[in-house]
């Protein structure tokens, strides 16, 4: 308490000092070994693993807004690895294993909570597909069980399993190791750890061009001046088409708004994560108490971070169908982000026809869960110039060879 000359307290004088910053907000240098475009979860994780696993620390992470303010701030934080195809199970399970040790590795709390995920089946075809996916998961070393409606009720007592509703619950797949994490903490943890290893975090620095000479990328142009780069790694999510286009690289992406919402804070009522493909909603309860619900994408392309109201309306009806107890909950906040969707609902990670220019995009509606896994693999790809075995199946050339990784509908949720 520090009295002023008038004998009254100065407002704020008795507050504690501002805590230390988690990362250094850097001024851009003229050149870096690696420039990462996009300061979201994937960009930050890539920077961290480039430094930690490959000893490359002369890195700038460029972010046009504030760090992790795009889709990293807008997702529903669900983490799981119960994908159908071997290629997907490979990279998502790698991510899940990293999640399981990430708090210790980063030295930062992430509120990672392995509360399990239920993927509900509402039709005979759903049941067949789900059981098939459980078997495929087990063959890939991913924990998975098939639950009857009664067992679903044991895991999540508030799910309505009565048979006389429009889309009755006929069972569910269950992945006990799945869960949620606090998305902001994940970004901050990676940013802090990368910054401690020497990575520059440069915010409010929008990339406006890529310099390509003799088929090789040599630098980026930004709103804060040109920056030379040995390698450029894109991690720009919904804006990937725009940024890659600066180097003449076209990508099979369409950018759509994706919405989510939270309820007011409630007592703990929802112990797990519930997803339903058929009635399309996914719900968990955040640590603080909000019900967190995700919707589907808006059909039309858009770069606006807001979606149509009728999408929210449908999502709410789906939630009420499954959880009648939510009928009197109030919506606190809705928001949208821009997601980049590929034709096969699988990501694109790897090399481009421009030397030293790498892409990581197309994660569509499901990039958060992959954050540590793709950071690990993308860092390997950028450092060595060769795709990591786990992201090699997700190379851009699969659209020419036809070897797609078709996760549309197969991955336990509609995209």
């Amino acid at each position: 308490m520090s009295p002023t000359t008038q004998g009254r307290r100065t407002p704020g004088a008795d507050l504690p000092d501002h805590p230390g910053r988690l990362w250094r907000s850097a001024e851009p240098k003229r050149a870096y070994d690696v420039v990462i475009v996009g300061g979201g979860g994937h960009g930050l994780a890539t920077a961290y693993y480039l430094a930690k696993n490959h000893g490359i620390t002369d890195i700038a992470v460029l972010e046009r807004g504030w760090l992790a303010g795009g889709n990293m701030a807008r997702n529903t934080t669900i983490i799981r690895s119960n994908y159908l195809w071997d290629e997907s199970a490979g990279i998502y399970e790698h991510a899940l294993k990293l999640w399981e040790g990430l708090e210790e590795d980063l030295g930062y709390p992430l509120l990672f909570s392995q509360r399990g995920v239920l993927n509900l089946a509402h039709s005979l075809q759903d049941v067949r597909d789900s059981v098939r996916r459980v078997n495929a998961n087990r063959l890939n070393g991913v924990d998975a069980e098939w639950l009857t409606p009664e067992q679903v009720k044991e895991v999540c007592p508030i799910v309505d399993i009565s048979p006389d509703v429009r889309y009755p619950v006929l069972g569910a797949t269950y992945q006990p190791r799945a869960g949620i994490a606090k998305h902001d903490y994940v970004a901050w943890g990676f940013a802090k750890a990368a910054s401690d290893l020497g990575v520059d975090m440069i915010e409010h620095c929008e990339v406006t061009g890529l310099d390509v000479r003799d088929g090789r990328v040599t630098g980026v142009r930004t709103t804060r001046g040109p920056i030379a780069a040995g390698k450029v790694a894109l991690a720009a999510a919904g804006h990937s088409s725009v940024v890659a286009g600066y180097a003449g690289v076209s990508l099979p992406l369409q950018s759509h708004p994706l919405q989510a919402l939270v309820s007011e804070l409630l007592e703990p009522v929802h112990p797990t994560v519930v997803m339903s493909n058929a009635v399309h909603v996914y719900v968990s309860q955040a640590h603080k108490g909000e019900l967190v619900m995700g919707a589907g994408i808006d059909a039309a392309n858009s770069y606006r971070q807001r979606g149509a109201f009728h999408i929210i309306e449908r999502q709410m009806s789906a939630a009420l169908e499954l959880f009648p107890v939510f009928a009197r909950a109030h919506v606190l906040r809705t928001w949208g982000g821009v997601v980049d969707v590929t034709p096969d609902a699988s990501p694109i990670v790897g090399l481009t026809h421009v030397e030293n220019l790498y892409v990581n995009c197309g994660w569509g509606t499901g990039g958060f869960k992959a954050t540590p896994g793709v950071g690990w693999c993308y860092a390997h790809t950028v450092a060595t110039g060769e795709p990591h075995p786990l992201n090699a199946p997700f190379s851009l050339d699969r659209f020419t060879t036809g070897k797609l990784v078709d996760e549309h509908g197969a991955a336990a949720v509609a995209h």
């Binding site: 990508l251 039309a300 606006r304």
Partner: protein, 92 residues
């Protein structure tokens, strides 16, 4: 929510429409002659501009007819609507 001016029915709520993606994507004249790269481009690659985009809509809950629109994907503003078979308006 968009208010979409159907060329036949006038302005209607977005929920009445079905989206059809990029307009003016022609089927290859000689499909057998295409290379794998060209097939990939036809099948999987569509423009994804942040800005003006010529796209198809169908008024499924109205006249059930397809038409084209030019919309700015950065603002969602619709600059023009025109009938199938008509060229993209020069001004939009």
């Amino acid at each position: 929510m968009l208010l979409i001016p159907c060329p036949w029915c006038g302005p209607r709520d977005e929920a009445e429409f079905h989206y059809g993606g990029q307009a003016h994507v022609a089927y290859p004249e000689n499909p057998a002659a295409l290379s794998d790269e060209e097939w990939a481009r036809y099948l999987f690659f569509r423009d994804n501009p942040k800005g003006l985009f010529a796209e198809r809509w169908s008024h499924t809950a109205g006249c059930r007819r397809w038409f084209n629109a030019v919309r700015d994907t950065a603002t969602n503003e619709i600059h023009a609507v025109y009938r199938v078979g008509e060229p993209r308006p020069v001004s939009a």
